[in-house]
Symmetry: C2
Subunit: 412 residues, 2 copies
Amino acid sequence: MAVNLTTPNPAELLPVAGVRLGVAEAGIRKADRRDLTVIELAAGSRAAGVFTQNRFCAAPVQVCRAHLTTGGIRALVINTGVANAGTGEAGLASAHETCEAVAAKLGIGAEQVLPFSTGVILEPLPVSRLVAGLPRAIADLRADGWFDAAHAIMTTDTLAKAVSRQVQIGGRTVTLTGISKGAGMIRPNMATMLGFLACDAAVSQPLLQALVKEAADLSFNSITVDGDTSTNDSFILIATGQAGNAEIVEVASADYAALRDAVVEVSIALAQAIVRDGEGATKFMSIAVEGGRDRDECRKVAYAVGHSPLVKTAFFASDPNLGRILAAIGYAGIDDLDVSRLRVWLGNPQESVLVAEYGGRAASYREEAGARIMKHAELTVRIDLARGDAAATVWTCDFSYDYVKINADYRS
Amino acid sequence: MAVNLTTPNPAELLPVAGVRLGVAEAGIRKADRRDLTVIELAAGSRAAGVFTQNRFCAAPVQVCRAHLTTGGIRALVINTGVANAGTGEAGLASAHETCEAVAAKLGIGAEQVLPFSTGVILEPLPVSRLVAGLPRAIADLRADGWFDAAHAIMTTDTLAKAVSRQVQIGGRTVTLTGISKGAGMIRPNMATMLGFLACDAAVSQPLLQALVKEAADLSFNSITVDGDTSTNDSFILIATGQAGNAEIVEVASADYAALRDAVVEVSIALAQAIVRDGEGATKFMSIAVEGGRDRDECRKVAYAVGHSPLVKTAFFASDPNLGRILAAIGYAGIDDLDVSRLRVWLGNPQESVLVAEYGGRAASYREEAGARIMKHAELTVRIDLARGDAAATVWTCDFSYDYVKINADYRS
């Protein structure tokens, strides 16, 4: 029951020069499903990543962080079924063994491999089955492997998530293709949001590093389904440098701005796809906060509204329950918020109405208007704090019977 | 479906010398239900309170704060049905009008009255109906009115909540009786947790002030159902001074310690009753965190676990899902937490087992033990952070289909 999300069209997923992808059935946790993906990068590619802030970060996340400091990344290996999280020293050894096996088969160094795992926590990674599956995944490597890879990294996602864009940079066509997985930060034990975005632009390592942080902040770090943060969340940005553009080295350049806009656009589409496929989601909600003193306080307010089970169940019921929205704004943690100045609008793609001002319901607001707007599956709560120029948007979904059903019934 | 909570026994609710309570049907929002309560305090009584931190605090909360600064409180007036929150200047005027009407009838000053409202937000308080009901509530004033008052302050609570205790202080018997309402911080629009605790001890105003804060911190501020904070939450501690004990003026005295322990005990019982009657609750969960550097970080961890919808749905399913608990601890916001040192136990009143250590599942843990423990309705998650001497406990309930049903179906 994903909200306005469909399976990607394979014909619209564009190969990225310098990137080949292969998948295999390795039987990591269940038989007869593709659960192993290898992404090979041409020599000269650059990679940068951002990872979960969870203190229980998984073994592969620790290895990724270490390997990214040396650079020269040439391959990514992703398994589903087991997250290799909460697995202590043995888990770290398994992640290293995985990298060594990939490196040996591709003739590169183990430190040039980034490992990713997603699936149940607290279970040992069956590394021998993973290694046994590698030759098949590597034999499958091809430039048009994005569609299959988008499926092979799924756990309990209901739909694969993949997006391509092209943009002109320095007179050259730069192609970006990305895939993501996750049904809202989390799925039961099947935790984890993963995002992989590759482009063929030439861009310096420091700019790539800055760009992955900015793009993650505006996309994957601006979504929430239930406030739970996984142990394995990872977002990797790859630039193979094969588009032929002059290497982008200046932040203050038109080329960087063009690349930045394209990367952010694809990242947001991949992140929103996770919310649209959120557990039990029937509504896609944008919480847009403006007029804040800084971005941080706008995010605080947006997350307070986006996390509130009361707001989310009201949206599930298509109930324009203003009291719940105002209460969430009120406890967001802005101590000197002047509630008499703030204004709130409810909207959908067709219309938007002012619902609250002067610390209460707007005089012009009619319940019928609220009820009409709430019938749509795409909803916006716009909040003007009226105390500054900063803004931030958070995307989330509603909270339905199915959320409880999925998370209570599921037993891995 | 409250968890181990029953209607109070009227015979066990003890009158407190100097306190009389009366209720009436005022038709605030619905006919044929008691929705108006007046609590009269003898001259010389002292009162202290703590209130919601929500920036959208209700009009009566603002009036209470102002009236408590002048002292000499002689009456409390509580209405259900309408919260008088998000009502702007008109709401403030209604709260003042309520106080003036009570004052005129009791021959006291309006600033000696504390008003409380609970019910739907964003609706105007029908102050004329409230005032018209006052003579009947005042005619009903009696020392044994606690049981009826506990019922009259309910909104969508399924059970009334009231507790009495007696304690010896300075050779005199001090009686404490308290009532509370709330089905977990919140009920749909029927937001609000209210707690009123009266004793007949003689205690100085500064100590009473300190005691209400400490008791709230250890009770009402240590519970959560869904993380939402109401606009009207209030907890009032009253001391009528009629027990005949020498006035308690020293924190470092046996008398203060005895009063403190009794007040905290009653406050915790009243607060836990709210969780036990939590929306859709089937399990009562204690999240006990120890070994923290300070109480604040212990509370952070306890609330992260207690708020996690993934943990709460797992408990609903009686699923000892350790991965979800560890993940919640990991994202609680302690940046330098060493997960390899922390230990986690799952328990019920009969037994407790170590389930996690060294960053993963405890070697001695068996799924059967976890499943056996989880079958109980009273569960404890004990977490040792192993980095200090501080501790904190938070009480919460599980997250069931009925929570969504109650909050999605409800339309005020």
